[in-house]
């Protein structure tokens, strides 16, 4: 378990759909998605945009390919340095 020490100044840079996003350590990938232009995680069967809904790993709206692993839930995944996130949108 991590120490509850202050790590607020530590920042990490990940890529979401090829775009670099720098966030405080501890930010979830779903939260980082809101720092891109759109808060869109996937498209539905008719091509309409969808975004995160439940934030707790229940609804699966925020699934994405993270570091090559498909169907990972962004809301349960902390941002890490050099992480590669590809959404379905």
């Amino acid at each position: 378990m991590r120490e509850p020490a202050s790590k607020a100044t530590t920042r990490v840079t990940l890529r979401i759909n090829g775009r670099a996003v720098t966030v405080p350590a501890g930010t979830s990938v779903a939260a980082a998605l809101a720092m891109t232009d759109s808060f869109v995680s996937r498209a539905d069967l008719s091509g309409r945009p969808r975004g995160p809904l439940c934030g707790m790993g229940v609804c699966f709206e925020c699934r994405a390919t993270i570091d090559g692993v498909p169907e990972v839930l962004m809301c349960l995944t902390p941002c890490r340095e050099d992480q590669e996130v590809v959404t379905d949108a």
Partner: protein, 425 residues
């Protein structure tokens, strides 16, 4: 790969942590599984890093010192035989052979469909709150919240504290029910104080009872919401809408193990043991009751699992929190109008894009699954199943493995886990 333990605890929220602490402190080998990267559950999410909540800090510190083992990012996908769980963890999986189990899987929000609820920027009430806690930039953003009960105020307080502008809080309960509930809170001093602190910070936010979302509108994401406020219609422009109506227990793992449920909660005896021997259920699984109920029932189950005496004070506290849970259930029950918001085009199942119109003629959940693919997608009906129950009174079917999307490899019982059914006591 396999793990063996005296006690497996599924869920590392307050209930699971309390059970794990009590059992591990009494000498049991305890393994705690949770889907999140850190312990604390939804209510204490990110407290392991931030340490802002004193109660959370106390329990997380106690848990770290208890000797219980913690496996983050671990999801139970199947229970092939009594005493064995199959667990997926990242891109690998393992089997757990356990003597006893404490299920502490907590709760999720109740989503009810309304036109526009699938737009990006429309989230749950607590869903938006946890994303803000997890770093979603909310400073200067306009937020409307619609739902019911204490969670609405908790979410508003978090958003407010992070610099978000809460434009409106719509409480679905009627004024009589809401203020009746608030007056009952004097029996629960800790909650009364919490409520008062929250209200003080939010004193300037317009709030109404008898209010709910009619529709969310926008091009590509939510831009405005229409509310029904005491019979009038109001429109507000906003960046985010949090809309969900209270909580429902996460019953999937309990059902997977064959535990009996009644009225949406797991049936337990006074030892918090379910109808499946050596499997206990705690916290929200017993009916929504919040952190206090989770902690007290977690402690009780941990003590029972370790065959320790139960302090009288703990039993007394349990009876008190149960009374609160009963009041909360009456307050949070969704009103009839909320069942009529969806139009024929509104999607009920978000995974399989099943509109309300596709359910014409369906009499139950089974027919809706077979004929319209309701609940057949990635979330396995976790969202629309709860909605369908509220809208049509359709109750959930038995859960079949895997209870989450899983890799084929995760469903294979490792050869070193004996498949004999001998379970010594």
């Amino acid at each position: 790969m396999r793990e063996a333990c005296d006690l497996v605890v599924v869920g590392a929220g307050p209930g699971g942590l309390a059970a794990a602490c009590r059992a591990a402190e009494a000498g049991l080998d305890v393994l705690v599984l949770d889907a999140q990267p850190e312990p604390g559950g939804q209510v204490w999410r990110s407290e392991a890093r931030k340490g802002a909540n004193r109660l959370a800090r106390r329990w997380l510190t106690r848990f770290a010192a208890s000797g219980a083992r913690f496996r983050p990012g671990a999801r139970v996908v199947a229970a092939p035989e009594p005493g064995v769980l199959l667990v997926e963890e990242g891109s690998s999986s393992f089997a757990v052979r356990y003597g006893r189990a404490v299920l502490a899987t907590g709760a999720r929000e109740r989503f009810l469909p309304f036109p526009g609820w699938t737009l990006p920027g429309v989230l749950g009430v607590s869903g938006l709150q946890v994303l803000v806690k997890d770093g979603l930039p909310i400073r200067g953003k306009r937020v409307v919240l619609a739902g019911t009960g204490p969670l609405l105020l908790a979410a508003a307080a978090t958003i407010h504290a992070h610099g978000g502008e809460v434009l409106y809080i719509a409480e679905q309960a009627s004024a009589a029910s809401h203020w009746g509930f608030a007056l009952q809170l004097w029996r629960h001093p800790a909650k009364l104080l919490q409520g008062a602190l929250m209200s003080a910070a939010l004193i300037s936010v317009p709030t109404s009872t008898d209010a709910w979302v009619i529709a969310a509108e926008g091009e590509g994401r939510v831009e405005s919401v229409r509310l029904s406020v005491r019979g009038r219609e109001e429109q507000l422009r906003c960046d985010y809408l949090g809309a969900a109506y209270g909580l429902v227990p996460n019953l999937e793992v309990a059902r997977l193990l064959g535990c009996e449920t009644s009225a949406g909660a797991v049936v337990v005896n006074e030892r918090l043991e379910t109808r499946v021997p050596k499997v206990h259920a705690v916290g929200e699984l017993l009916g929504i009751g919040g952190v206090d109920q989770a902690l007290v029932t977690g402690e009780l189950a941990g003590l029972v699992a370790a065959e320790q005496p139960i302090p009288v004070e703990l039993e007394r506290t349990w009876h008190r929190v149960r009374a609160f849970a009963a009041q909360l259930a009456r307050h949070d029950a969704p009103r009839a109008e909320l069942r009529r918001l969806a139009t024929p085009d509104t999607l009920l199942c978000r995974c399989e894009d099943v509109p309300m119109s596709a359910l014409e003629g369906c009499q139950n959940l089974r027919e809706a699954r077979l004929y319209a693919r309701l609940g057949m997608g990635a979330c396995q009906g976790r969202t629309c199943g709860t909605a369908a129950q509220t809208l049509f009174g359709w109750s959930g079917e038995d859960v079949r493995p895997p209870c989450l999307p899983a890799r084929i490899g995760s469903l294979r019982l490792p050869s070193d886990v004996s498949s004999t059914h001998a379970r010594e006591s």
